[in-house]
């Protein structure tokens, strides 16, 4: 009960920070509510941006993945992101910020509409972005329910845990807008960075030291491969470096780039971002691997046995038996089990609050979707002109409430596995959408038709992959070839998904996306010179400034 009480206290603090702590006495319209008046300072900008990217998956999912796959989880998901995300912030985020400041954009679609002189094509891009984001929000509510239920030892049921987390997030997004959300994310990131190290030391000590734990894993032939990367094929590993491209294309990240007070705030952000990744992911992955040695825990023992049974007898098992074993070996709760085993109750509560901090990452996604709806649909189709800015902000707030209620209702009824899959392909979908930003910001010749081709391709390829996986059952063991091309395995169904020439679908999706933008843009009429000049013309003052800087 003590951990649950600490978590309730934490939810209360979060609510206070989000709703009251940084509220301005006279909020000034849509830009203040949706973008905190573009006024976030360097500290809040860095930590909040990092917190926005840190989801339930970062903490719970990464440890679970590492528990079964070993240390490869870190290079797959963390060190690749440590390079790609800061690079995309450096090259794309800064330009989005400058355009937002200069032309008043509040969403990426506003920039696309202006850059390519289009209207409804912007609406299509909005629809694709929104469709990819919704499952992500639902999984956040689900994660909240699961985590609160686990931390309270089952005292708080899943439905109540989900409701409490959804209500807390909805309240501070509703009242606090971007400012409240940014400060909550900052608080959550500080909390997690502080207590992540405490968890590592405490659990390490409880295990009798990490040297002993890793020594035991090395000695056993069953667990030694977890300390290498041999379980993952190199091509699959290579594919994973495409996934972090999704980060800058996620609307909540692009929109967050517009909230900085000065462009120079990106400097510290891009330098410290990899270090924050290291501080969070390394302990999570390491603990996930080390958990394989905690055989005195009955829950961990069950997971290991389920994994071994599946590996040894997969072919002899029915599909239902395999699904049951996969459910038994689900390891997203290993960090929670380690805390339960090694941490004193009061500290488990604080660390549980840290885990809740990561789970509650759906706030910025809800706010981003609300911003996109009110700016790209409500305001664009005349709502702002007809009803005024106050009604626009209230529409955004109403949207936040409706979206949270729908997400909660779906989270109660739908099986998590469906949304896990949807989230998996949302990452691929957003990665494939990233060429849109590059084309808009760096290529004069890009056109709205190229953008439409790219957005349509992204949506249809994600749907096609989902339909393919629904129609072709996952094989028990080795991947099954479905289509051969030139004697090579072109399309394969694997135990966890799909592969194209041994690569994850994200690779062909992104490459074809690039190709479509280029080819279709070349075949269609370029935007007017005025539109191009707004983005690419160099002013004499800037030329002088640049020469001065170089000198």
């Amino acid at each position: 009960m003590i951990p649950a009480l600490v978590v309730f206290l934490y939810l209360g603090i979060v609510l206070y920070i989000g709703v009251f702590a940084f509220r301005r006495p006279h909020p000034s319209g849509a830009e203040d509510y949706f973008l905190a008046s573009r006024s976030l300072g360097p500290f809040v900008f860095l930590l909040s941006l990092f917190g926005t990217n840190m989801t339930a998956f970062t903490i719970l999912g990464s440890s679970g993945h590492a528990f079964h796959n070993g240390i490869v989880t870190f290079p797959l998901m963390a060190s690749a992101s440590a390079l790609i995300i800061p690079l995309s912030l450096f090259f794309i985020g800064t330009r989005m910020w400058a355009l937002g400041k200069k032309y008043g954009f509040m969403t990426p679609v506003q920039m696309f509409r202006d850059r390519w002189e289009c209207g409804h094509i912007g609406t299509v891009i909005f629809a694709v972005q929104a469709a990819f984001l919704v499952p992500y929000i639902i999984i956040g509510v689900m994660g909240g329910g699961t985590a609160l239920s686990a931390i309270s030892g089952g005292l708080v049921p899943y439905w109540l845990g989900g409701a409490l987390v959804a209500l807390t997030v909805m309240s501070y997004v509703f009242f606090g807008g971007m400012r409240g959300t940014a400060w909550v994310n900052t608080f959550q990131t500080v909390l997690f960075l502080s207590f992540g190290a405490a968890a590592l030391l405490l659990i390490g000590n409880g295990m009798g030291g990490f040297e002993r734990a890793i020594g035991d894993l090395l000695e056993s032939p069953a667990t030694k491969p977890l300390l290498t990367r041999e379980r993952i094929p190199p091509l699959f590993y290579l594919s994973y470096t495409f996934i972090p491209l999704s980060s800058i294309a996620f609307p909540h990240i692009t929109i967050f780039c517009l909230t900085a007070r000065h462009m120079r705030q990106f400097k510290k952000t891009v330098i410290f971002y990899p270090l924050c990744i290291l501080a969070i992911w390394l302990p999570c992955v390491f603990l996930g691997v080390a958990a394989n040695r905690v055989v005195q825990s009955e829950k961990i023992q069950q997971k290991i046995e389920a994994r071994q049974t599946l590996a040894q007898n997969a072919a002899a098992l029915t599909s239902g038996e395999r699904s049951k074993l996969r459910a038994e070996m689900a390891a997203d709760d290993v960090v929670l089990i380690l805390l339960e085993t090694y941490a004193p109750l009061w500290l488990a509560g604080i660390l549980g609050a840290g885990i809740m901090a990561a789970v509650m990452a759906s706030d910025s996604q809800i706010l981003a979707l609300s911003t996109m709806f009110t700016e790209d649909v409500f305001a664009y189709y005349g709502g702002k002109q007809r009803f005024g800015e106050t009604v626009q902000v209230n529409t955004g707030r109403l949207f936040v409430v409706l979206l949270t209620l729908v997400a909660y209702a779906v989270a109660l009824r739908a099986p998590a596995s469906i949304f896990d899959l949807a989230v998996q392909y949302a990452f691929s979908g957003y990665a494939a959408l990233s060429p849109l930003l590059v084309a808009a910001l760096f290529w004069k010749r890009s056109t709205k038709w190229g953008a439409l081709a790219c957005a349509t391709w992204c949506a249809s390829s994600v749907i096609a992959t989902a339909v393919f996986q629904a129609m072709v059952p996952a094989p028990a063991g080795a991947p099954v070839t479905i289509l051969k091309l030139g004697g090579l395995d072109f399309l394969m169904r694997t135990a966890n998904g799909t592969s194209v020439f041994g690569l994850m679908p994200v690779v062909p999706m992104t490459l074809i996306s690039c190709l479509l933008v280029i080819v279709v843009s070349w075949l269609t009429k370029r935007p007017s010179q005025g539109a191009i000049d707004r983005y690419f013309a160099i002013s004499p003052q800037s030329q002088r400034s640049e020469r001065f800087q170089k000198a």
């Binding site: 734990a213 992955v285 910001l441």
Partner: protein, 85 residues
């Protein structure tokens, strides 16, 4: 708004980024767990922890040599112009 095709004008920086990305594909430690850093950190994990540190260093270099000052200047100028107006 001035947009410089920075990487085309500075191939050395583009090459540096490309090489750093390639270093992520470290097949040389693929099947080895040892040596263990500090007695418990497998070599593959140590490499990527250092790689992540290096990414911070690379970003510091980019900030130093490739920061798009002109973007900031344009926006600041606009702000001053609108204030004067």
């Amino acid at each position: 708004m001035f947009y410089t095709s920075f990487l085309m004008k500075n191939p050395a920086i583009a090459l540096l980024i490309l090489i750093y990305w390639a270093l992520h594909q470290d097949i040389w430690f693929w099947k080895s767990a040892e040596p263990l850093a500090f007695g418990f950190l497998p070599v593959g994990l140590t490499y990527h922890a250092l790689y992540t540190f290096g990414a911070a260093g690379l970003m510091a270099v980019l900030v130093k040599v490739a920061w798009p000052e002109s973007l900031e200047y344009e926006v600041d100028q606009d702000g001053e112009d609108s204030t004067k107006a």
